[in-house]
């Protein structure tokens, strides 16, 4: 949930909302916030499933170090969503192993 009023930081200033897709669904977020924050606001906790054990992962360090929150963004896998900023029309997909969830390996990159 967004913190609209904060006792120290004051009130949230209005910011531009943008649309992006998450696994094909259209969601909205604030322009320039990390993708991970926009997803969290939309209730998305699972960013990817691991290769070996197929376990869910999400935000862990939030500063681009642990690489746990990686997703397929605009077709590029392993994109750190906690430090990649949201732009209008971004295509964000849950990563499954090293590719997007549901994607087939058809010999094309």
């Amino acid at each position: 949930m967004r913190i609209m009023q904060h006792p120290i930081l004051g009130n949230s200033e209005p910011r531009k909302t943008v649309k992006f897709t998450f696994d094909g669904k259209i969601l909205t977020g604030l322009e320039g916030e990390p993708i991970a924050v926009a997803l969290k606001e939309n209730g998305v906790m699972i960013h990817r499933y691991t290769s070996k054990q197929h376990k869910p992962r999400g935000i862990f360090c939030a500063i681009g170090r642990c690489t746990d929150c990686v997703m397929v963004v605009n077709g590029k896998p392993n994109t750190r969503t906690c430090i990649t900023l949201l732009k209008e029309g971004m295509d964000v997909r849950t990563q499954d192993g090293v590719i997007a969830k549901g994607e087939k390996i058809d010999g094309k990159i």
Binding site: K76, K108, I109
Partner: protein
């Protein structure tokens, strides 16, 4: 100084060569001690690109490489009890332009004459074979025999198995001197003042070998150079082959893990501060190799690089390894000077030396690689 430790065989160096010597000797029932100045396999064995190749091999080394690929590598995972990720996916050498085409044709002809199976492909055939190759590539040679494996795991798997069979390992134990007893090399003395004694001393210490054998008056010519490698993030499996170019701009393969390992140089490899126990990467090398890769495989451009590293290559005058006993000095065996081929040749070296030390006929002839081959020009 502690008591002298004795064994049938003392191996200096715990890289893939040293560990394979230890393993095969132990398999013959010999007692073995392995000494390393560093931790296990921290030299070229853990820094190479994992190529297992007979194609484009110097005829001196070819019999050993072929024997290894036919008889050792395919069974190594089973033998060592660890998946060493050997994949016989072939060797794909790419060329651009007429000059390189001619070069590849010559190599293919030689390869086929040597009993390898090498196909030549024109631009269209290359595209049909692998859609990831740049259309700029006009010609390619594909050798079916070659493959690749995981050098890190293979080296440690030999160590693990040898250790389990009773081989004694001492690391952080830098050998500074060999010594003879009654005309036979028997003693190994370390920087810490420890002494080891054996019937056979195998020096398999990579670039450090020359200095070690000098202590018993053996001159082994070598010219260490630094080459770099790097690894990418993992991808779904795209291809099984070892890739390289006619111009030797880079080499590499996709690992079982999905990451790509590439190696190459910037052209300044032979110009360095001289062999030492460190080999930092240079600012200019990795980017130059990457540009080479993207020229041949443009689709890999957005693969993320995870790590780069460098390693020493122990070059000899003819670019081939020095393997076998030293003619005029009984007790001393050399397995060094691999000129970048030690990974592929390591396992077979161990087998050969274990047989020679046991007085058996070696599985493949190696005499052409003995140190005595180096003679001054007429």
């Amino acid at each position: 100084m502690s008591d002298t430790k004795t064994a049938n065989v003392i191996v200096v160096g715990s890289g893939i060569v040293g560990n394979s010597c230890a393993y095969y000797c132990a398999k013959k029932g010999l007692s073995v001690i392995v000494l390393d100045e560093d931790i296990i396999g921290n030299g070229a064995s853990s820094r190479n690109g994992g190529g297992v190749r007979a194609f484009f091999r110097n005829p001196l080394e070819l019999p050993l490489a072929k024997y290894a690929i036919d008889n050792i590598w395919p069974h190594l995972s089973e033998e060592l009890g660890v998946d060493i990720e050997f994949k016989q996916g072939g060797n794909f050498r790419l060329g651009i332009g007429e000059k390189e085409e001619a070069n590849l044709k010559k190599l293919a002809k030689e390869g086929n004459e040597q009993g390898l199976k090498v196909d030549l492909m024109n631009q269209k055939e290359v595209q049909n074979f692998c859609c990831y190759v740049s259309p700029e590539v006009t010609y390619a040679a594909y050798c079916h025999n070659d493959g690749h494996a995981n050098p890190l795991i293979t080296t440690l798997a030999f160590y693990r198995k040898a250790k389990a069979m009773g081989v004694k390992y001492y690391t952080g134990e830098e050998v500074v001197k060999l010594a003879t007893i009654r005309g036979k090399v028997r003693k190994v003395i370390t920087a810490l003042g420890n002494c080891y004694e054996g019937d056979a001393i195998i020096v398999a210490a990579g670039c450090a070998s020359t200095k070690i054998v000098q202590t018993v008056g053996i001159d082994m010519p070598h010219a260490p150079s630094i080459i770099e490698a790097f690894v990418t993030e993992a991808m779904p499996p795209l291809f099984d082959f070892m890739m390289g170019t006619a111009s030797s701009a880079f080499y590499g393969h996709q690992t079982k893990h999905g990451s790509f390992v590439f190696g190459g140089g910037s052209g300044f490899e032979s110009f360095n501060d001289g062999y030492s126990d460190s080999c930092p990467t240079r600012q200019i090398t990795a980017p130059s190799v990457m540009r080479g890769i993207m020229k041949y495989f443009p689709c890999l451009h957005d693969l993320k690089i995870i790590r780069t590293w460098a390693g020493w290559i122990n070059n000899t005058p003819d670019g081939c390894a020095v393997i076998g006993p030293v003619d005029d000095l009984p007790g001393l065996y050399i397995a060094a000077g691999y000129t970048g081929h030690g990974f592929c040749m390591g396992p077979v070296t161990g087998k050969i030396l274990s047989e020679v030390i046991s007085g058996e006929k070696p599985c493949v002839s190696y005499e052409q690689l003995k140190l005595s081959r180096f003679k001054a020009r007429q």
